[in-house]
């Protein structure tokens, strides 16, 4: 008994030493690069500190008051919501239709899948420049094609009425292949037996099968793709920075672009930090909804 106990204790402490060594780098870096900074943003947002300044004062909620009184902030928030409201249905709808079409028959499946996925992993900064030339008022492809139908030229990215929809089309272009891939995975998990059962019940037309079996079974995946797309659309930045810088006259200013300019162009650290906290709260709420939906999906299947 006395001989065993120290041995076990020794082995135990050895095991926890090994575990401690294994997690130590991650724990230190989590504190230093993630939780520490997250806390720091919250603290900055309560001060008038500027990057490089040697002193600062606590302002309480003054930065937040300034933020909520700032018309440009509200413009950028509304613009972001409008952008999300266009991009989400466009991306999810197009992704679903393409997934259904691709899976309907086997021919050229691989080609279609690869072709639609190509925009997902291409460098957005470079492709935004390409889109900029396609939307150019005189030499751009879009106006050239519209001219064929006698439609007059539009300066898509300089007109406050068209700039957000134009950016949204680029957003849909980049994201719908991703939605498609997720839907295809969802379609593959619909059991064949359900289609057989539906056929026995007389649903032998393709549209009936779609309505009775496929779409209801895709419900959870659809919810999930919706929220994922919304989160990504909320983070829109590259196209705005490359193509419009928030213009004309703030018509395409969005949250993340405001965050970037206030914090790093104007160096208003405290104000930028308050904006960051608001942004963080929105994204976390969206992601938590996503986690909840995902949880439900796991329980259903």
């Amino acid at each position: 008994m006395t001989a065993v106990a120290p041995g076990r204790q020794h082995r135990l402490s050895h095991a926890s030493l090994v575990a401690g060594l294994a997690v130590a780098p991650a724990v230190v870096l989590l504190a230093l690069l993630l939780f520490g900074p997250a806390l720091a943003v919250a603290v900055f947002s309560l001060t008038d500190w500027q990057i490089g300044a040697s002193s600062f004062r606590f302002l309480g909620l003054a930065n937040y008051q300034a933020l909520f009184a700032d018309r440009i902030f509200w413009t950028s928030l509304v613009n972001t919501v409008i952008y999300v409201v266009i991009v989400v249905p466009g991306t999810v709808g197009l992704g679903l239709v393409v997934a259904l079409l691709i899976e309907a028959q086997p021919s050229l499946r691989g080609f279609y899948r690869a072709a639609h996925f190509l925009p997902v992993m291409s460098t957005m900064a470079a492709m935004a420049i390409v889109w900029g030339t396609m939307l150019h008022p005189t030499i751009g492809l879009v106006n050239r094609m519209l001219a064929e139908f006698g439609i007059p030229a539009t300066n898509w990215l300089r007109d406050p009425r068209t700039v957000l929809p134009a950016l949204a089309v680029i957003g849909i272009w980049q994201g719908f292949g991703f939605a498609m891939v997720l839907f295809v995975a969802g379609l593959k998990s619909v059991p064949q037996s359900l289609y057989d059962a539906a056929a026995i019940d007389g649903a032998d037309r393709a549209l009936d099968r779609l309505r009775v079996v496929t779409l209801p079974m895709l419900g959870p995946v659809t919810m999930f793709v919706l929220i994922l797309t919304a989160t990504r659309a909320f983070e829109v930045f590259d196209t705005v920075r490359v193509l419009t810088q928030g213009g004309p006259n703030f018509a395409s200013d969005v949250l993340l672009y405001r965050l970037y300019t206030e914090s790093f162009d104007f160096l208003r650290t405290g104000y930028g930090a308050a904006l960051t906290v608001v942004y963080l709260v929105i994204v976390v709420l969206l992601t938590l909804t996503q986690a909840r939906v995902l949880d439900r999906r796991v329980h259903y299947t």
């Binding site: 926890s16 090994v18 575990a19 294994a22 997690v23 780098p25 991650a26 870096l29 989590l30 690069l33 993630l34 900074p37 943003v41 900055f44 990057i51 393409v98 079409l101 309907a104 021919s107 050229l108 691989g110 279609y112 690869a114 072709a115 639609h116 996925f117 190509l118 925009p119 992993m121 291409s122 460098t123 900064a125 470079a126 492709m127 420049i129 390409v130 030339t133 396609m134 005189t138 030499i139 492809l141 050239r144 272009w173 719908f176 991703f178 999930f224 930045f237 490359v242 965050l259 970037y260 914090s263 790093f264 650290t269 930090a273 960051t276 942004y279 963080l280 994204v283 976390v284 992601t287």
Partner: protein, 282 residues
Amino acid sequence: MRDLVRNIRVLRWRVLARHGALALTTLFALIPFVWMLSLSVKPPEEIFQPEFHLWPQKFNGLENYSVALTAAPMHLFLINGLFVCATIFLLQLLVCVPCAYALAKLRFRGRDTLFAAVLVGLLVPPQALAIPHFVLLHVFGLLDTYAALILPWIISTFGIFLMRQFFRAVPDELIDAARLDGLGEFEIIWRVMIPVAVPAIAAFGIFSVVAHWNDLFWPLIAIRSEELSTPALGILLFRDDEAGQFLGPLMAGATIIVAPLVVAFLFAQQRFIDGISFTART
């Protein structure tokens, strides 16, 4: 008989409709790439003339691409992209894998707390940490260096979470057998678990490399010098440069920036699709 003929007709119509509709969406997906390639081999006067030809009447590709390669350090953008992405990924692995193994297979005090912290970390969008990361790098005098591009990313809660889920599925018998063979825990991590986890590591690697190759937000903040730019920032600097005012060289530059990932994707499509949609499935 008449039914059969009708069925065949319906079937043929359906095949045609499917290809017709998919041709349209494929065109939407690919047209920017086609437009980019077409302009990248055209002389300026052809880009601005009223009628449009997909293939130029006078091939100007060599001039455009050589302007793109000489007016901006395009090769440096690519090398920086490769170096930064590879270093980030290797350091992420070095930090994530032991931690994920401990979370999945070892018992120790604070394990649940640590895992909860990882889950909370998953919620934080990286852009929200830009200000403190900037300050931290400023304090240590590391802004506008490779370190500024790499350091903020070496801890990946997503990587820890992904690898931990994968390691949990590895049977304990495999680890016990390795322990009986006298292997230490760290030998088990690097010599037993890593080989088993190749699919998960590949998926995480593709996810990580694609994300950081394409990232514009952070390099824009952390980097001032053109010669330290990663691909996404590099093409932006090139556009705002004098030579980038000419569309032919600009499109050639965009092609050079986009090409490496596109070519890699065409060679390993399934791995890429798995890797990028992994975010969604975990």
